[in-house]
Symmetry: C2
Subunit: 175 residues, 2 copies
């Protein structure tokens, strides 16, 4: 198996960012089970985050590879799904990063940035419809053709925490 | 890289289950970035699901490998986190499965079962404390020593859907 390593060029690090050496071997492997089709062909076009995407109301399409299609019946009964997808262009070695519009470097696990040791992104999406192997959803913010890893049903009983608190530095950034 | 393939023994399939051939190659690879330490040493001991775990109030420990520890400062400002972890004992080839206490086979993507093409589990956990590379959390339901893949901050603005609907068959099962 060939594994492309995402860019680790020191020169691409912004002030305040910290990189670490990556382990010499991987521990487990993934199948791409489909693709997420969106109208966005470059990062500049993508919505700023999942919330902006949801508020835009733009409907995107999840195309599940036909070999997994038998796993889909039943999802249409859920109003919301969790999508996991693979940010294949993200570097994996930054432990402190300086996102755009952030004055200071922020540790990776306090951010939802795609840059992380395992660049798995997560979006809670509203399901608008299912036709064969295609789901229409609202709420993803990724580039067109992003690889899909998983589809899970969303349960408010375990997944919804309306009063979850976030730190001031993040609240002011989002606002 | 050696990849252990999870069991695909036809004889272990329950009535109503459907398996599919797995792709011949993987598409991407993962690092285990730590371990989740829980009191549960066998599946029989594990809480039935994340909700039961949260209601039990049992505090578990997330141990992040020291090489990633610089990514942690700042997570203590969040009341809740999303953990992604790897269900390394789960088979990956069932598209219809018959969970315990379910009368009929159910398609995989309508379930939160660990059995799926990419056995990534997700839990929304309450963060009780951080000490060095160890997080104390409430809300995981996995076996002791489960490999950790990611830690993300939880944002109610994008992750909380209090009125999300689920189908009757699932509601009656959970109840």
């Amino acid at each position: 198996m060939t594994v492309k390593s995402a860019g680790t060029d020191e020169s691409l690090i912004r002030p305040g960012e910290v990189r670490v050496p990556l382990p010499s071997a991987f521990d487990a492997s993934l199948y791409y089970i489909g693709r997420i089709r969106t109208p966005w062909k470059s990062r500049a076009e993508c919505p700023r985050n999942a919330r902006a995407s949801r508020e835009s109301g733009v409907v995107c399409t999840v195309e599940v590879d036909p070999c997994w299609q038998q796993g889909l019946p039943g999802v249409e009964g859920f109003s919301h799904l969790i999508l996991l997808y693979w940010m294949d262009r993200a570097r994996r070695d930054l432990m402190v990063q300086t996102p755009k519009n952030q004055p200071a470097g922020r540790p990776t696990f306090a951010l939802r940035s795609p840059v992380r040791p395992n660049p798995i992104a997560l979006a809670v999406v509203e399901l608008r419809g299912v036709e064969g192997n295609r789901l229409s959803v609202v709420g993803v913010d990724c580039l067109d053709n992003t690889p899909l890893l998983d589809i899970k049903p969303y349960f408010s009983s375990t997944d919804s925490i309306p009063d979850a608190r976030i730190p001031d530095w993040h609240a002011s950034r989002k606002g």
